[in-house]
Symmetry: C2
Subunit: 429 residues, 2 copies
Amino acid sequence: MATQMQAARDGKITDAMKIVAEKEHQTAESIRERVARGTVAICANVNHKNLVPAGVGEGLRVKVNANIGTSSAFPDIEPELKKLDEAVRSGADAVMDLSTGDDIDESRRQIIDHSPVMIGTVPIYQATVDAIKERGAVVDMTEDDILRTIEKHAKDGSDFLTMHCGLTRAAIERLRREGRIMDVVSRGGSFITGWMLHNEKENPFFSRFDDILDICEKYDVTISLGDGLRPGCLADATDRAQITELLTLGDLTQRAWERGVQVMVEGPGHMPFDQIATNMKLEKSVCHGAPFYVLGPLVTDIAPGYDHITAAIGGTLAAVSGADFLCYVTPAEHLALPTIEDVHDGVMASRIAAHAADIVRKVPGAMEQDIAMAKARKRLDWPEQMRLAIDPELAKKKRGARNDEDAEACSMCGDYCAVKIVNKYMDEK
Amino acid sequence: MATQMQAARDGKITDAMKIVAEKEHQTAESIRERVARGTVAICANVNHKNLVPAGVGEGLRVKVNANIGTSSAFPDIEPELKKLDEAVRSGADAVMDLSTGDDIDESRRQIIDHSPVMIGTVPIYQATVDAIKERGAVVDMTEDDILRTIEKHAKDGSDFLTMHCGLTRAAIERLRREGRIMDVVSRGGSFITGWMLHNEKENPFFSRFDDILDICEKYDVTISLGDGLRPGCLADATDRAQITELLTLGDLTQRAWERGVQVMVEGPGHMPFDQIATNMKLEKSVCHGAPFYVLGPLVTDIAPGYDHITAAIGGTLAAVSGADFLCYVTPAEHLALPTIEDVHDGVMASRIAAHAADIVRKVPGAMEQDIAMAKARKRLDWPEQMRLAIDPELAKKKRGARNDEDAEACSMCGDYCAVKIVNKYMDEK
């Protein structure tokens, strides 16, 4: 069975392309053309049966991912399935299962089975947990352990796999010379770095990249090229280590595309606001327009408890400057595994960033939502304002708590509502 | 008694300038020089006795304002005094009393008396409420009513007064030709527009500007030139009506400076993200570097309940591009008068935006906070991370709820903490 990219290059418009075209108010042919070039990825594993396909990339609505998954401190699957439901209900376009808890196979399979949105997973997490359990230490993991885990995730229906393939010995050498404050903060990146340093070997995700492509081609898994050296604090941003890895990700993007395997590239991280646009344009240039998937960027390090906001600030500028896919950050980041409320708040903040960027990117249908809201405000049409709100439930709750149900204005201005007054006197003349 | 600006031009370094210099880690002479030019305003009414002066403008830390005040729906003063305390406790640099409730004189006086931070008020609000009570309609207000109210606010110790002096008949004519969706959403702007349309007269804040300068000079009140025609939705942004008013604000800035009266200029509003930088640079240019005080800008209209986030997104870019003073927007915006929790959340979101911009503006001491946090994270030093957090109380609460007290890592990664692993293997080699 051909991958979406292979089909596109053969001039075929797949069912997935048709669905994406309809949802994005664009022509199927224009989607096909972008999938063929690689600037749009349709992450749709042939084994993810109940998926409603979505596209990520050039000219499309900016997508939002929610990370869920068990940890050693919270190993139960049940709360994570509830988070999946909450993420989808809140409007997430994708969910990543980052489980490192008790039964990783089971949690992944249940999440994929339950999910209508694309699912991403990170095989190195499971390979590491298994290696520690079975062999005693992450550094005793074998290359074949890793490849077997990748194959298992692909076979189970993961639509995209995050793999830190560009974290080479050369990049680690640059990292050492940089003298970073935080070194490596990517979880997968830290496992691989530990393994590479201890074993004095090249990164298996890099050295065995052709074997990985075989697996991804077979199931049409999109490779999400992870940035193991993403900066973990503002002071470490845009350094030579980070850019060394990015250049390798550009090389690997090209190799994957030559095989017809779809690619996304992952990006930072923590970063001063004025470095974000440069980073986005650099990725787009050296990775030949591959869809860019960013975590944040967080524009300050000092706001734990509010990192959904620091990420929304950075994410908006990132998406305006080229990023196509925003990984949410929840208010629990840097503090704890998120609760279900954190999942909701994280998705909403990222959706706001994505939508604000969609307006600038002139995505069909985006600005129209804001115009409809403005018109409802001008008419003081409260039911319509609630309907058009990004989170109608919250808007209704906040209004209801502090207003009479039939109030014409709101309790902030009451009798002195600007809209009421201007409607009166502008009409009078 | 000389205004700060008059003293600065006479080469005098006032006590207020010394305090500002110390707080900003800069020399008093450099503060004096900027006050003399008008690019820094020290809003310090001679009658605000317990004020700790602060500066707004070029090269200084970006400041945050919190709006409080009674409304017809919530007329009591008591909750507003609690909001003042909460705003100051949360780190607001200024508070505006926007009261339109029962006893406006009393609420203003109590708020000024209680406040160590600069206080702004909007005389047209009170003049309107009084006109409706005493004369039956806003349109029956007289020019002398307005001037008397301005004098009263100045005498009571308001540090800055928002006055919509640039909302001229010419600007309203442009507004009509534009065919906006929302017309006027500024509350003060709507009162004045109604008055002007009904009475077919020029805006008294414009025609009596010299009389207003007399009052402001006497008490060293900083004029905050309000933008009555600020866009109330994305579709209305950066139109000819808005820019017509801005050009007049530039003229008036010059006239005020000629008299030694300090000025800030107020700005939008609702605005697509890609128009924000242009708006900031335009204000700085046509108002000759006057401090810029912005409300938002909100980068989408569809997120009622989350407008502290939409404002933080726009506010960061605004402050990076030249804005010096951010008026907070709370989660209650467009829905209701804020609660005390909304005040807290609004201040925090704006402080994050201001700080993210301070890093880019290279404000002394800003980046150092992020570096200290990064180093504490690298050491897994949790007490220090909590201490350095912008909201230590929230950070502790969120961490405490989902972690064992003595846990080395956090419950997101637990045993698989990237920092722990890298610290181990980077040190090993």
